[in-house]
């Protein structure tokens, strides 16, 4: 197709043209902020200027119709200025506090909840799932929706000991980089790929396929006289890379794919250092459309945490204080052999002292 005047490498537009005039004026000279109510903040500049923010949750997957609706709200209430947060919330930037109420009302009527600030739950960072990815062990948007329906009150109320960050990824490629979240929900494949030996020679190049496996689990093999491959099952970590390069290596399996839950990670440096999330529940069934087992498990962990953690204590800090045996005791989650690490340097995760509470 002939395209006139092809431009490339222009990069993103300069953000400065999108800044609210009050933000431009007070850029870099903000003095302090206050959370006025869940989802509403004021930032006060040294000049005395005040900019108000109204934050609303979105499903991340947005129709252009909704984006246009947000644009319309911005025109009415903010002079056209808005932004998104790193956790998929939309934020409206206002200079007139009288407009906060009417904007909140409209957002509420449209079904986008105002909240996500302070010691509560913000939106769930998540991935593509069945909406767009080929290697997803489960859907993403659906699990997130089902879980957030139950955690909704912690989004609209700041009623937890500290911030609680939930993330979801539909396979261990972890496009949402969920590995440092207070609660991480992670889709898992549990079986090595099923090889379609009939299609494989037609669809895939064996050397490319063999090279695609990060653990070297795939070997060339001759099956019924035809060039194909075999998978050393013990070596497979279900990453789906082979399926990415070769559709005849089906990694998805309706019966054996499921969801795992991880807890206690954080990225902020506040008080304690950033930490990885650790395994809480190795496998829950993949049960659309509302994943009741997953929802129940997450809600249970949140409730136990809310009840027992001290003020300002993140999930991981709380668990470190009480110890993992008590975490499993309080949550009632069964401890299994899968909880014990067996990858590189696993020994560092073993208990190497007699510091035990003996309460179980």
């Amino acid at each position: 197709m002939a395209v006139a005047q092809r431009k490339t490498d222009i990069g993103p537009p300069d953000f400065k043209q999108f800044l609210h005039p009050l933000i431009k004026k007070n850029y870099g000279t903000w003095k302090y902020h206050e959370i006025l109510e869940p989802g509403v903040m004021v930032h006060v500049a040294e000049s005395g200027d005040r900019i108000y923010t109204v934050r609303a949750g979105t499903p991340r997957l947005l129709s252009i119709e909704s984006i246009r609706t947000f644009a319309g709200l911005a025109d009415t209430y903010t002079g056209g200025y808005l932004r998104w947060t790193s956790r998929h919330n939309v934020e409206f930037l206002l200079d007139d506090p009288a407009k906060i109420g009417p904007l909140k009302k409209e957002l509420h009527e449209l079904g986008y909840p105002v909240g996500g600030t302070g010691n509560g739950i913000s939106s769930i960072v998540h991935t593509q799932g069945w909406v767009h990815c080929h290697s997803s062990a489960s859907d993403a948007s659906g699990v997130v929706k089902a879980v957030m329906d139950e955690l909704y009150g912690h989004f609209t109320h700041m009623d937890l000991p500290a911030k609680l960050r939930v993330a979801y990824a539909c396979c261990l490629n972890m496009c949402g980089a969920v590995h440092c979240s207070d609660i991480a929900i992670l889709g898992v494949h549990t079986k090595a790929p099923t090889i379609n030996h009939g299609d494989l020679p037609k669809m895939c190049e064996v050397p490319t396929l063999v090279a695609s496996c990060p653990t070297g689990a795939i070997r060339p093999a001759s099956v019924d006289g035809k060039q194909s491959v075999e998978v050393e099952e013990e070596q497979c970590m279900f990453c789906g890379n082979c399926y990415t390069v070769c559709p005849a290596m089906q990694i998805n399996n309706a019966e054996t794919d499921g969801i795992s839950i991880w807890v206690g990670g954080k990225v902020s440096n506040a008080r304690t250092e950033p930490k990885f999330s650790k395994l809480a529940i190795p496998f829950l069934p993949n049960n659309p459309p509302r994943w009741p087992e997953v929802v129940e498990a997450v809600v249970n962990i949140v409730n136990v945490y809310a009840k027992h953690a001290r003020k300002h204590e993140r999930m991981g800090e709380w668990i470190e204080r009480i110890g993992w045996p008590r975490f499993f005791e309080l949550t009632g989650i069964p401890f299994t052999k899968y909880h014990i690490d067996d990858f590189k340097h696993a020994g560092e995760t073993f208990k190497r002292s007699t510091h035990l509470k003996h309460t179980r």
Partner: protein, 399 residues
């Protein structure tokens, strides 16, 4: 084409409940857009079958770029012909995800013309994700985007779209201009961003302070996190105000300081700043009373990644403190030095964090030309398998 009624009983369950529903979003677009309609239909099928119906694509993209478009095909093309090809664009977001209504409408109009009308605001790396267009629409859509001032982000083994926190635009804690740094670095490395030539992906994330609202330390190969060197700024009057408003300064601030460097006598707090590790906790609790110091810059950490392939890594300290002033020359020099070494010796699909684990941080520092300092480690090695340099062995022989 005849429009038969589309039934989605399973997805309809996800229109219930208080949280905003992605199903309603797809339906909003599906009313006008056949691609969105087939997306809905195929997704319902996935819900029935509990399995994805997408296939990884062959090479698709726009002329001259090696990334920015992710190819995707349906494995049910007869049933859902409108999404037989369903490629996705990563459109490089503006720093801090700031927009005007006009800018958003422009993107919506382009996407209405060329694609499904479905988006992600935003992808987890930060791009505006335009979900699903046909192969023949790729070039015209790209032309319209660039004409309107938008360009594609990264994908594959290249610089991925950098992202940053809201920073000085609306946060009093920003220790450097995250938005400008992100914009400048993105513009400086357009070639590296659009044409994959590294062993694997390379992500930059810019956080203005150790709260790290963009998860730089967990999600970027080069994590640039704002910090300060001098004393925390204190307004004692405001501290007393927090105390009388019910903040238990002893329990909530003093006792939770990780280095125990704060004292409170009921009238004023004192901080032993030489012991402070700039964790932000006290400042987070009393934003009106405390603020980061005035000698500001950033800590550069490197090597974070998600698990695939060799296990997840957090970034670790590379340069303890660096000034962050445009044009950010030190950052660029460092990044380029890293790309040189990793580009030459890194294996295919080896992230820089994994590369450093393989060759050793000590050796890597030598290649880059940085001095080892104790700020880089949690503790010195515990194993005695030290590989001494050649010269050292020779020196010892001579004695």
């Amino acid at each position: 084409m005849e429009k038969k009624e589309l039934k989605t009983p399973l997805l309809d369950e996800l229109e219930k409940g208080p949280w905003p529903s992605f199903v309603r979003e797809i339906k909003k677009s599906a009313e006008k857009n056949p691609m969105a309609r087939d997306t809905l239909g195929q997704l319902e099928r996935s819900y029935e079958d509990r399995i994805s119906h997408w296939k990884h694509g062959g090479l698709v993209g726009v002329m001259g770029y090696g990334g920015g478009v992710i190819g995707r095909y349906s494995d049910l093309p007869e049933e859902f012909p409108e999404v037989a090809a369903f490629h996705t664009y990563r459109v490089n977001q503006p720093s801090g995800w700031f927009y005007t209504s006009e800018a958003l409408r422009t993107i919506c109009d382009i996407w209405e013309k060329h694609g499904s009308g479905l988006t992600n605001m935003h992808g987890s790396t930060g791009d505006i994700i335009l979900l699903g267009s046909k192969t023949e629409a790729l070039e015209p859509c790209f032309a319209d985007l660039t004409e309107a001032g938008w360009d594609l982000g990264g994908s594959g083994s290249d610089v991925r779209t950098p992202s940053c926190c809201v920073g000085p635009a609306r946060c009093e804690w920003a220790c450097y201009d995250t938005l400008e740094a992100c914009y400048d670095i993105t513009q400086s490395y357009q070639d590296e961003l659009h044409r994959p030539m590294f062993p694997y992906k390379y992500k930059f994330k810019f956080a203005g302070c150790p709260n790290d609202c963009v998860a730089a330390i967990a999600r970027s190969d080069m994590s640039i996190i704002g910090t300060w060197k001098d004393a925390i700024q204190i307004d004692q009057e405001k501290v007393r105000e927090y105390a009388s408003d019910g903040v238990d300064i002893e329990a909530e601030v003093v006792d939770l300081c990780p280095t125990g460097c704060i004292a409170w006598d009921g009238q004023k707090i004192t901080i032993d700043n030489s012991e402070c590790v700039k964790c932000m906790h006290c400042i987070n609790v009393m934003p009106k009373a405390l603020a980061p110091g005035k000698e500001r810059g950033a800590t550069i950490l490197i090597g974070a990644k998600a698990p695939i392939v060799g296990g997840a890594l957090l970034s670790s300290v590379f340069v303890p403190f660096i000034e962050m002033k445009p044009p950010f020359e030190e950052i660029k020099e460092l990044a380029e030095a890293i790309w040189d070494v990793w580009g030459e010796y890194g294996k295919n699909r080896e992230r820089v964090g994994e590369f450093i684990q393989r060759v050793g941080l000590g050796n890597f520092l030598e290649e880059i030309g940085l001095e080892p300092v104790p700020e880089m480690i949690a503790h010195p090695r515990t194993n005695p398998y030290i590989f001494f340099d050649e010269e050292l062995e020779e020196d010892e022989d001579e004695e």
